[in-house]
């Protein structure tokens, strides 16, 4: 298992070298979006309108942070469960999104899309939202402010700690439950 320091925007070359189990420290700008924001992004796409951020080379973080207390750029900000965005991810990968960040399993369709369009799925530690917020140095709502915690935020991250769960070669890190030994 290798360790990489990567910057956004992410390139095909950066993605191709990654294998499930690798540790990545990501720096640059990532964008938060979860259920409600994805729905709105798709409404914009379907209407042929411009998206609030550039998809090419982008990393979308499935997160709805807690409010920023005074003196901090953001509140607690760990990943939400990714499968709820599975219906959206393949199209976003086809339009240039390189990475999604979340926790939990992805569908066959998302894994296929990552192979086809050179994408990666990163896991961040679920339930470590206070700790992860330390790697977010700036955060600004750039779209859908009315969604509150679900608004799209541009987040400037510095060495955000990630684990490659699914790589673009079909590799997967999650273990299969041993139902035979569980009795």
């Amino acid at each position: 298992m290798a360790e990489y320091k990567l910057n956004t925007p992410l390139t095909d070359e950066a993605i191709e070298q990654l294998r499930a189990g690798d540790v990545v420290f990501l720096s640059g700008t990532i964008h938060s979006a979860r259920d409600a924001a994805h729905k709105k992004l798709f409404e914009l796409l379907d209407a042929g309108k411009e998206l609030p951020f550039e998809l090419e080379g982008s990393a979308i973080y499935y997160v709805g942070p807690s409010p920023a207390p005074p003196g901090r750029p953001i509140g607690s900000a760990g990943p939400t469960t990714s499968y709820r965005m599975d219906t959206y991810a393949p199209r976003l990968h086809s339009l240039g999104m390189k990475a999604s960040i979340g926790k939990g399993k992805r569908s066959d369709e998302v894994r296929e899309a990552m192979k086809k369009h050179k994408g990666v799925y990163f896991g961040a530690t679920g339930g470590a939202g206070a700790l992860l917020s330390n790697s977010i140095v700036e955060s600004k709502v750039i779209a859908f402010d009315e969604l509150g915690p679900e608004a799209i935020r541009a987040m400037k991250v510095k060495d955000f700690p990630l684990l490659v769960i699914n790589d673009c070669h079909g590799g997967e890190l999650y273990v299969k439950p041993k139902l035979d030994t569980a009795g």
Partner: protein, 279 residues
């Protein structure tokens, strides 16, 4: 009749919401430390290390342990010989929830199920009332995050399926949930009652201390058997493999209809955020 002031309820509820979201319970910390010592896998150890560091940071900064501060769930036991003055108890608990989620910079996660519009203040809380002997008011709070709650299920087994059927359903549920609910999880199980009651007692089981032992030796043995079976799944912390898939299994069992064997499995994430107060 002993009187309890409404404003004391509001203050106590607000304080519980803030404390539970920023302080990892001591029983959970002990169990995570024990798991870290027992795990051989470096990735399992690293996840557990991060969770303990996260707890220290939340304690120091008062940032919530997790950005998902949950729906606020309350189990309330009202003594027969006390009464709350200065407001309706349900409203007072909701007022305390609003105050706690606002003052504590906690995320408000309650929304309309169809429009998905956020209610904006973390309410309405989910409140279960019960009448008990005595002159005290006991309020237990749980921050119930969506990720783990989504992995929970209720089923109506046939009585003939018995213990084997219960065990199979629980093991398959946790296996299917895999990494999604933030393992190592705590599993609350309700056996018996009716469709809705099984779910209610499954969730109430999550208020127990992780290192307690069920007073009924038969139920304690069932909890132990399930815990061993679930940990044998090898899902491990965050689904990366390991010995610790669950931190505990807590069962509540109550009589049911002759024709039924209701079973509810309520999954709770590794932080097991809960608090209680007696007024």
């Amino acid at each position: 009749m002993r009187e309890i002031q409404g404003k004391d309820v509001v203050e106590a509820v607000a304080a519980m919401c803030m404390r539970a979201n920023t302080e990892l319970p001591q029983d959970v910390r002990r169990r995570l430390e024990q798991a870290m010592a027992e795990e051989d896998s470096p990735s399992a150890k690293e996840v557990l290390r991060q969770l303990l560091e996260n707890a220290d940071l939340a304690h120091d900064t008062k940032l919530p342990l997790c950005q998902d501060c949950g729906l606020a769930v309350f189990y309330v036991e009202i003594g027969d010989d006390c009464r709350v003055v200065g407001g309706n108890l349900r409203e007072l608990i909701n007022e305390g929830t609003r105050k706690g989620y606002a003052d504590g910079y906690l995320r408000k996660s309650a929304c309309d199920p169809m429009t998905r519009a956020n209610t904006g203040d973390g309410t309405p809380a989910i409140i279960h009332f019960d009448m008990v002997p005595g002159d005290r008011l006991k309020i237990s709070y749980m921050a119930k995050g969506g990720g783990a709650e989504n992995m929970s299920r209720v089923t109506m087994l046939a009585p003939a399926q018995g213990w084997a059927g219960i065990k199979k359903f629980v093991v398959e549920r946790v296996a299917e949930a895999g990494p999604n609910p933030c393992p190592p999880t705590v599993i609350g199980i309700g056996i018996g009652g009716t469709f809705e009651h099984a779910a209610k007692i499954a969730k109430k089981s999550l208020l127990r201390e992780l290192d307690d032992t069920h007073p009924d030796p038969a139920v304690a043995a069932m909890e132990k058997e399930l815990e061993e079976a679930l940990n044998a799944l090898g899902i491990g912390p965050m689904g990366l493999g390991g010995k610790t898939t669950v931190l505990g299994v807590k069962i509540t069992m109550e009589p049911c209809h002759l024709a039924s064997l209701p079973l509810a499995v309520n999954v709770q994430c590794h932080s097991q955020r809960h608090e209680e107060v007696v007024l």
